[in-house]
Symmetry: C2
Subunit: 115 residues, 2 copies
DNA sequence: ACATTATACTATATGTCGCACAGTATAGTG
DNA sequence: CACTATACTGTGCGACATATAGTATAATGT
């Protein structure tokens, strides 16, 4: 079992759900695809275009995000922002994330006690 | 868009990866399926049998877990424990989890600044 | 003694999404 | 003019949590 490929696999699994939370948190301020990628990369989280754009479309379809074309610097850009419904969803997802952290904390503490 | 069904969906997505981390953290001490379910439920994390058993089998197949049948209280039980390779994997997954928390923290802090 | 529930597990199918592959269009740079 | 960067769209695949369905045995209630 090659740990590197296993890690790539599990990273992908862990990104599910997390990516959505990241995007919903980021888009309080409207932004467009390429800018989102740049900004996330600057804080140490690399998302490929081919991952982000389909996600943005899916979230828009679910009415979690709202989009609007604008022309900036003579370029058309699709600006996304979180919807009201998206904000409600984000709060609930944050709760799930907190619960998961709590559970992991409890298990890690229990593990240290058993060492 | 019904937020309840959306939440069930995203909970499922967020469990991917997380469940594996939970199990690897829990199985420093050997345990069997039903006991794992009970113990996790006691600390507030509900996992269905039909979710856990296939996961245990997948992780064993990947040589992340080791299993061994034992008869206890006159009942056959399959005890699982984490392998050496599983421990290496777990350390790496914990790093990913920490990075994700860091990224989320940065984004949340940035969001509060923009409020 | 029988029905029901609990314990403990196995087998298989489905839906979702991150990722990969492939592409278009325009602007900027060498 | 060739190449890279910017900015996006369309489609298919693989992995896994979940759901459905099941077997086997023990414990409990009537």
């Amino acid at each position: 079992m090659d740990i590197q490929s296993e890690l790539m696999n599990i990273t992908s699994e862990m990104n599910r759900g997390f990516l959505q939370l990241i995007i919903l948190t980021f888009l309080d301020v409207p932004s467009y695809g390429y800018d989102i990628i740049d900004s996330l990369e600057k804080i140490g989280y690399k998302v490929e275009e081919n991952t982000l754009y389909p996600l943005l479309r899916r979230l828009e379809k679910k009415e979690v995000l709202i989009s609007e074309w604008k022309v900036v610097d003579n370029k058309p850009r699709k600006y996304y922002s979180i919807s009201k419904y998206g904000k409600e969803l984000r709060e609930e997802i944050m709760k799930i994330w907190s619960i998961q952290n709590l559970i992991l904390q409890k298990l890690s503490d229990g593990r240290k006690e058993n060492e």
